[in-house]
Every structure is written in structure tokens, then in C-alpha cells.
């Protein structure tokens, strides 16, 4: 997360040099690259000369876990000394290499939450210490719908450095001062891009916006502004009939950020941690008194959709969905946010 600089510069990076580049950066940064394991591509910590896979469509797990890990210690308690030991928040400088435009957009959405009023140091420390090197999509997957949500799959100015795949090499766009500095410091890897390459990259970038199989029109989301109408819509009952109440959609969602805080106790030490939680679980809102404001699947599935499409919009100004398609790809019963939006609008 860095300050934007209007003066962007274009460079070229040969694919054959990427590993060398990562090996050089490795000395200074903790680098996360897409790695394929057991048929799944995920961001993994890069070790010298590790293999990685830049031909992925999108990672199975969203990169939110690099900022809001599934579990994270907040502090430990030493009972004998009666003292709290704050978790060391210092992280080495980090790079996420190859983040897709939808996922980088999800981080700017999460920033809104974690910066509001009390700043969440655990999230922001990691966020501020991380350079994003984005990678454009030229080949949307069948379940992608980022273009419905004002994410440009071909171009991403929110990352520090953005790569456009030109076949043998990448066109490198430096969006921020930090990004420019990184390129300036490593002239061996980056050469100046010519007009021809820039033009070709622009073509590729604009082509990326075509070929989506699913999606919705922007005006279709306007209906969610009227909570009163949408709240009692029969579709929630219908969805609840087949929803299994599992946490796949929320855990794989790149913008879902709800968490739980709990303590763990062992002899003379205690530990407080936070971990992902899901609004789809009964226990999420179940109070000690036994009262649960959202006791059934209907209320819980409605909460997930309305939180993203209505409540979040009126609080933070944007829809909390980036169209990465992970929920659509992985939902066991094929509950599809694009279909829900469509169905509510066109009945």
C-alpha cells in the first residue's frame, strides 16, 4: 500500500529472468509467489530457486490470508509475572508477486474496514510492509465476473508494480514511488519498453475485458440500496433450502473478513488469538443467553449477501465483492451471487 504517483513508467521484464529477479529480491524481502501443489495454486513463501507457476488463473485461497491469517496470536499472558506479552508485529518487508487485479482490489476494500476508527495494527502492519506486484488477466475463467464489479482484469493501478503478459516477457508498469524505486534499484532486470510493446500491452489489457461467461449489470445492484424491499425477498427462503451452511463461500471469499477472538490456556501461560469465522455458522451470532438473532440458514445467507451488496455499500461506498468467482467455483450446491442478483432483478 503506497502513495500513488501520476508519473507511470513502462519497462520490460523477460520471463526467463523472473527467477533471478526473485532470487535477488529474496535477500531483502519475504516473497509470496503462486505455487502449484496437489493441483492447487496458492501463494506460498518463496525460497531460493523454488518453482512457481505464473500461468495460474487465480489462486484457490485468496491472498487475504497473508494479511488476516486464518489464525493469528494477538498476545500471550504470563501468569507468574502477571504480564501481557504483545505479539511481535514487526514483519520483514514483503512482496506478493503475481497478485491478480480482483484480489488486489479486495485488499483496498479490506483496508476500509481495518482502518475505520480504531486501526487494526495486525492487519495494517502487514499491509504497509507489503509491495504488490500485480499480474494482469488475459484469460478470464468461466466463473470470473470481476468486470461486473469495476475491476479491470487487464489493468490494475492499485498495485505498486503491474505486469502484463506479452508472451516471452512482461510489460512492467510502475504505479507507485516504491514500485519505481524497486525497478530503479535493479536495472539488470528491467529494460525500457518501446512504443510497440506498450501498444501491444494496451491491446492485451483491453481484450481482457471480453469473454466473461457470468456477471450482472451495474444497475442490477442498485436494488440492494433499498434494504426494506430486499430484506423480505422470497429468494432468501429459496436459497436457504439448498444451502448447506458450510463456510466455503466465506473462507474462500477475498473480502470476507469476519473473525473470532478466543483464549487458550496452558499451565502458566495463556494466549489470545483470532481466527476466521463465518456468518454462515449458527454459533456466529448465538449469544450466551441462548438468543440468536440469526437462527436459521435463511437469515444467515441473507446476511452474507446483504452485507456485501447493501450494508457494506452504504457504510464504505463500495460493494464487498470483487468477482473473483471463488464462491461460485467451490459452492457445493452452486449458489451463485450473479444469479441471485439477476433473479432479484428479473422476475
Amino acid at each position: 500500500m503506497s502513495s500513488n504517483n501520476p508519473e507511470t513508467k513502462y519497462f520490460l521484464l523477460k520471463k526467463s529472468k523472473v527467477k533471478d529477479l526473485l532470487n535477488t529480491l529474496y535477500k531483502e524481502f519475504e516473497i509470496f509467489v503462486p505455487v502449484e501443489e496437489e493441483g492447487m495454486v496458492n501463494f506460498k513463501r518463496y525460497k531460493l530457486n523454488n518453482n512457481f507457476n505464473m500461468e495460474f488463473t487465480n489462486t484457490l485461497l485468496p491472498p487475504k490470508g497473508l494479511f488476516l491469517p486464518q489464525q493469528e496470536t494477538l498476545f500471550t499472558i504470563n501468569y507468574k509475572k502477571e504480564e501481557l506479552i504483545e505479539e511481535n508485529l514487526e514483519t520483514s518487508r514483503r512482496i506478493i508477486f503475481g497478485i491478480r487485479p480482483c484480489d488486489s482490489r479486495s485488499l483496498t476494500i479490506l483496508d476500509e474496514v481495518f482502518k475505520e476508527k480504531s486501526e487494526d495494527v495486525y492487519y495494517l502492519q502487514k499491509r504497509n510492509n507489503t509491495l504488490l506486484i500485480g499480474l494482469g488477466c488475459s484469460n478470464p475463467q468461466i466463473y470470473c465476473f470481476c468486470s461486473s464489479l469495476e475491476v479491470d482484469p487487464g489493468k490494475d493501478s492499485s498495485v505498486d508494480i503491474f505486469l502484463t503478459d506479452l508472451g516471452e516477457k512482461y510489460l512492467v508498469t510502475a504505479n507507485t514511488k516504491e514500485g519505481q524505486q524497486l525497478i530503479k534499484d535493479l536495472p539488470v532486470y528491467f529494460e525500457k519498453a518501446g512504443e510497440e510493446e506498450i501498444t501491444r500491452a494496451l491491446e492485451i489489457q483491453s481484450q481482457a475485458r471480453e469473454g466473461f461467461s457470468v456477471g450482472f449489470a451495474k444497475k442490477d445492484t442498485e436494488i440492494f440500496r433499498d434494504v426494506e424491499i430486499i430484506f423480505e425477498h422470497p429468494i432468501w427462503e429459496e436459497l436457504a433450502e439448498t444451502c448447506l451452511g458450510c463456510g466455503i463461500c466465506t473462507y474462500l471469499c477475498s473480502t470476507c473478513h469476519c473473525f473470532d477472538i478466543a483464549d487458550e490456556l496452558a499451565k502458566n501461560e495463556g494466549r489470545r488469538f483470532r481466527c476466521w469465522d463465518s456468518c454462515q455458522f449458527f454459533s456466529f451470532t448465538n449469544m450466551t443467553s441462548g438468543h440468536n438473532p440469526r437462527p436459521n440458514r435463511k437469515e444467515r445467507i441473507r446476511q452474507r449477501f446483504l452485507h456485501k451488496l447493501s450494508y457494506f455499500v452504504s457504510r464504505y461506498g463500495s460493494i464487498a465483492c470483487v468477482g473473483c468467482g471463488r464462491c461460485l467455483r467451490n459452492c457445493p450446491v452452486d449458489i451463485d451471487i450473479t444469479r441471485v442478483i439477476g433473479a432479484i432483478n428479473h422476475e
Binding site: S2, L74, F75, I77, Y79, E82, L84, E86, L89, R93, V113, F114, E116, K117, S118, E119, D120, V121, Y122, L124, Q125, N128, N129, E178, V227, F231, H257, C258, F259, D260, I261, A262, D263, E264, L265, G270, R272, R274, D277, C279, F284, T285, N286, M287, T288, S289, H291, P293, R294, E299, Q303, L306, H307, S310, Y311, F312, S314, R315
Partner: protein, 278 residues
Amino acid sequence: MNNLNQIQNPYLPRIASIEKITQETGDIKTFRLVFLEGDFHHLPGQFVELSVFGRGEAPISISSFIPGENSLELSVKKMGKVTSYLHSMCEGDKVGLRGPYGNTFPVERIKGQNLLFIGGGIGLAPLRSLIHYSFLKRDDFGKISIIYGARTPADLVFKEELFNIWSNIKNTEVHITVDVATNGWQGKVGVVPKILKELNPSPDNTVAFTCGPPIMIKYSLEALNDLNFPEEDTVTTLEMKMKCGIGKCGRCNIGNKYICLDGPVFTLKELKNLPKEY
């Protein structure tokens, strides 16, 4: 990449010591807590996240208003894991506190008005902070009426204040009722909304505050409506499962509000604009 060391970690509790424990009823105790270091400022209606280390954290509304002493009182019913352990703790034991969190009762707006408090059971706890506040600034307010009820006489909380202190303050009325009279109870018998209707308070220049079990709140709000109290002058507090207290964990989200940031105090008018999920 600026350094964040300056930002305070909002998840770190401050240590407080239990100074005094008062057994209110069979399962409710009031804990007077004193911070070991630093100041503590809050306004009536706010809550804190109370840590019993190794057991967890629970949001508890502050039931006192004691300015300038870095201390506060929490009246806690033994319910879950955290509150059960808290109940087993002794004076001198240490707990953690984060906060104060949440909005406050509209203390500025209600200046010069009459105050009507309607409490049931442990629901008197959050109202008590405003009662303390209004007695401290007694001349800022008109008549103060307190209607309080519990299931049986044994379930009444803050008995000393209810019977011996508050009613002796000028221009103040205290009405105490129980659902079931036991142990030679001489006072009123009947549920709070019924007593409220009998007392028939005037809505003129009066703000009503209600807190208690959901069923009591429901019927009290109806009664207040029948008595022509305007929706913006009817104030209540919402309860919702909370974890972080600072609008991050998403648990207490109702509509576009987080109860921990935008609540827990709502007027009836604001409440009607929220989805019915509380």
C-alpha cells in the same frame, strides 16, 4: 512504508484490579475495578471488553459513573465461560479491560429534560451509569423517575441505592416492583410494563430509557407508545454477540451498523430503521 509503532494496539487490554465485589443476587455480582495505570474516561451507556485471561473476553456495559477515580463498576450475571470464571475471582485479582467502546446515552441532548428510567433485572446496570451521571449533575435535569422490577425480591439489584439513596435525592421518584412477591414483600407486585401504565408518566419534556430482558423491552416500548412518548425520545440499548468491540470482526453487524461502534444505545426511531435481526 511508514512505521506503525505509534499506533496503539486496540486489542491489548489494560490491566485492572478487582477492588470490591458486591453480591447483588444469587447470580449477579458487581465488581469495582481499578486500573493499575493510566486514566479512564467514559460516558454513560458505553461498555468495555472484559478479559479473564486464558478464558476469554466478554462485552459488559459499565454500570457506574465515577469521574476522576480511574475506576468503574461492572454488574455481571453468571452466564457463560468468562462470566463464570469472573464470579469465582476474589478482590485483588487482576482482569483485563479494553474500551470504553460504543456510543453513549445522549447526555447533551437531554439536558433540561425529565428522565424516566425503566429497568428490568440486570438491565438496570447500563441505566445505572446514566442515573449516576444525572445525580452528579442533578441541576441539569428535571424530574427523575426510576421504575425497576425483577422476578422476585431476591432478584433485585443495587438494593442499597434503590431503597436508601436514590429516592432521597430531590425531585426523584423510585418505583420498585416484583413479578412474584416472596419473603413478606410489601411493595408493588406486577410486571414492569403494567406498573409503567399505572404510573402513567407524562411524555412532556421527558426522555424514557429502557433496558431489560427482550420481552420486557418489547412491552415497555408498546406501553411508552401508548403513553405518547415520541420515538426519538424513547431510548434503549441493544445486545448482540461481540468480539472485537471496534467494528472489525463483523459479528455485531445489523444493517449498515455495527452495534459496537454505532450502538449499543439507539432511539426507537433509529431502531425502526434497522433490519429486525437483534
